[in-house]
């Protein structure tokens, strides 16, 4: 009973942040909802081993990431991708075009690279923290981020990139 209460507190307080993380990985609300639900089920099952909410959050993020990568490999989310890459709120005016383009290009990145960017540039995690969630070495995180940024620069063009300030 105490376990369920602790888990409920964790899930209720962190659900929004986890959902947003999943949404950035998938750019699809339905998939993000499924990812978070599945990851929270895994966290609940393993709750007695986690206890510390900090561990639980890292565990859940890792579950979201690995599940997303697994789905991508099985092509299930590309094959059944339904709708919804439009945010609920309108895009702001400043640098709007560049952000729309960048968002679209982010969706074309392999999930592991995309996850690395989200963890580093949205969650502001360090390279070792990112490596822990991705289940890889720090060197791999570096190369994933580097490769992803190279691709974005190549696709967006030098004007946009320089103006926008995407540099390594």
């Amino acid at each position: 009973m105490a376990e369920a209460t602790g888990f409920a507190e964790f899930a209720t307080s962190r659900h929004g942040a986890l959902f947003r993380y999943a949404y950035l990985l998938t750019s699809d609300r339905g998939l993000a909802e499924d990812l978070v639900q599945e990851a929270l089920v895994k966290t609940y099952v393993g709750w007695h081993r986690l206890r510390d909410p900090n561990n639980a959050e890292a565990y859940t993020r890792r579950a979201i990431t690995t599940t997303a990568i697994g789905w991508w490999r099985r092509k299930s989310w590309r094959a059944e991708r339904p709708y919804d890459d439009v945010p609920d709120q309108p895009v702001g005016a400043d640098d709007a075009t560049a952000r729309v383009w960048l968002w679209r290009e982010l969706q074309k990145l392999p999930p592991r690279q995309r996850a690395a960017l989200v963890l580093r540039y949205y969650e502001d995690l360090t390279e070792p923290q990112t490596a822990e969630i991705l289940g890889c070495s720090v060197g791999t995180v570096k190369s994933q981020v580097s490769d992803a940024l190279k691709k974005l620069r190549a696709r967006l063009g030098s004007d946009v990139v320089l103006k926008a300030g995407i540099t390594e």
Binding site: A4, T12, D34, Q37, E80, W103, L106, G165, I166
Partner: protein
Amino acid sequence: MNDLLRDTLAERAAGTEPPPLDLDGIIAAGNHRAARRRTLGILGGAVATAAVAVGGASVLRPRNEQPQPARPGPFTQRRATFALGSEIHYGSEVISVAPHRVTAFVQTDAGFVFLSADNVIHVADRSGVRSTGKSAWSLTADHRGNLVAWVEGFNDRYESVVYDVAANRELVRTAIGNTIPPNVSLVYRSEVVAIDGDMAYFGTVDGPYRWDIRTNQGTRIAKVSTNAVRAVTAGQIVFQQPLEQRPPAVSLAIAETVSATAPARFSGQRAFLSPTAKYLMTEPEDALLGIEPGWASPALYDVATARQVGLPYAYDSLFFGQWLDDDRFVAAGKRRFSKAAETDLLVVTAATGTVKVAVPNFSRLTFSTTPPRIAPFALPTGRPIIDFY
């Protein structure tokens, strides 16, 4: 440095509002998964063979929370059962409910619950027949236990009810999700989709709700149509996929939670999962379809592999009745070449689709020319067999 990337991600994240958290669903799925792991662990041990042989499906079923009598109920055993006129044939035992005529019925461990021709709900056991004083269009029961559920209709709402047959009292009565909007014609009538252990699943006007019978609280599990969820057993939910599928909505998925991504691997309208969700039997809503698309035939699936199991050609109409255990179910089959529509009561082995005739020619699949056009016999699914057209 990398401001554009940070801004883009932050903007997108801020612009998407998280959906409501389905905490009950997550905990229910987690409990089920944990119980299944424990069960598999037990089954891996040396006692597994003996336990399965003795306990059958009940050993595999990881829950036993619903109210139970101190002793096993008098009708705990599932047998080849059907109702014809005023008699419920429970294996070789015949229970008379005269002067009532049974149009639909279900079995609970404590007794049979049936609808008479005027849709009044009655309970029949070895001590006799008693009326609950309530009425409904259909009944829902679990694979075992004493609970039955139904929906009562009023001018402005429906009420979902869960009733304990052994204790002779209502455990749940709620109108949640079931306000009938004024001046509308509803495509689907509300119903109780399933009782699964201590959870009831209500198909309401607002969508499906999972209701904890013990705490008498529940939440909507998805914002989908009234009949999007078709069955729930052992924590496995059968639902239409895509979720926005329009009638007849015959593509089905099975998962622990209702989601837009579960693959649609099955076909059918009505769904009947075996007690541990090992097999799925589906059938159309209508008893007799004039033009028969593929989904209009009854279909039997192995859930894990989605392999369709062939059903015997000798019967051109097959109606699901009840799971006897996780591997066998009772069905009524109309003989393909019978001009008199002779119908046999069958026991079907799910793994192979082979059948054994339990009661030959127990009735005929005929329908009156005036509504309600229902079959002369009923099977323990809680609904009459109806010819809509």
